[in-house]
């Protein structure tokens, strides 16, 4: 179909709506994120953000926002499974998680004030660090 070419899309460059290719790419991102999450015990954001940008044409800010929502779902599923086996320590999660909530409020506000190219550059640095941690 005709891609929406709205001149108003200041932040969002709309990729073609739900074609089967698009859905297949989202499924691929989901599988990669779940794989990464299961193997290394993290949420999968280092996989989701680059793939939303490189496969689906997301802008950097949209990719980070959408990644956070996907991660919340992925982590909730994982935490639920772990809680079933009694591995989750809710008090420790709050001790480290509540300061992190304050941090994420500051981080998202700060992100609105920097360029998307700076977000891409920062993410590239994060990926290099993460790759280094995996190798070492």
């Amino acid at each position: 179909m005709v891609p929406a070419r709205s001149a108003a899309g200041s932040l969002s460059r709309r990729a073609p709506q739900h074609t089967s290719l698009r859905l297949a790419r989202l499924a691929g991102i989901a599988t990669a994120a779940g794989l990464f999450s299961a193997l290394f015990g993290v949420g999968g954001g280092t996989i989701v953000v680059p793939l939303l940008i490189l496969w689906l044409g997301y802008g950097e800010r949209e990719a980070t926002g959408t990644s956070l929502a996907a991660i919340a779902i992925i982590a909730a599923l994982g935490a639920g499974a772990h809680a079933f086996y009694g591995n989750v320590d809710p008090v420790a999660a709050l001790v480290i998680g509540l300061p992190a909530v304050a941090g994420v409020l500051a981080g998202t506000a700060l992100q609105q004030r920097i360029s998307e190219r700076a977000v891409a550059g920062g993410f590239a640095v994060l990926l290099v660090v993460s790759a280094g941690v995996l190798v070492l």
Binding site: I53, L77, L126
Partner: protein, 137 residues
């Protein structure tokens, strides 16, 4: 719990949250070692507890990004709901492939992403509309 451990946990929590807000990750890379070092969790306990903390951080972060107009909820739900496919694949793969090979291949993938994002940071984004030219090989 020692006061210094509490301060360490809070500091690493804030750092993970800021990073999450800036680049859209959940913070597990920092939470897991933070929980092990400062809050005496086992590796398994830390990974499980980290996931609960990620729900808080990522949920609040997504809510704020939604307020800024940077959230595509439908895509996020598709990715979140289909992710158990990857978890299943992960358990199969983890039993079939040496851990070291997994670590090295994921590191290579991340370096490839880093290169492409660094180019966007330097050159600005190339045309995303229509069929993206597939140069990833």
């Amino acid at each position: 719990m020692e006061l210094s451990d509490l301060i360490g946990a809070i500091a690493i929590g804030v750092a993970a949250g800021v990073a999450g807000g800036l680049v859209g990750v959940g913070g597990g890379v920092l939470f897991v070692p933070g929980l092990v070092i400062f809050l005496d969790e086992s590796q398994l306990g830390a990974e499980a507890t980290s996931l609960l903390a990620i729900v808080l951080v990522a949920g609040v972060g997504a809510w704020r990004q939604g307020g800024y107009g940077n959230l595509r909820m439908r895509d996020a739900i598709v990715v979140g709901v289909l992710s158990p496919l990857g978890v299943l694949a992960g358990t199969v793969v983890a039993n079939a492939v040496p851990e070291r090979a997994l670590e090295l291949s994921f590191a290579a993938v991340q370096l490839g992403f880093a290169y492409q994002l660094a180019r966007r940071a330097v050159d600005g984004p190339r045309r995303p509309a229509g069929a993206p030219e597939d140069r990833s090989g």
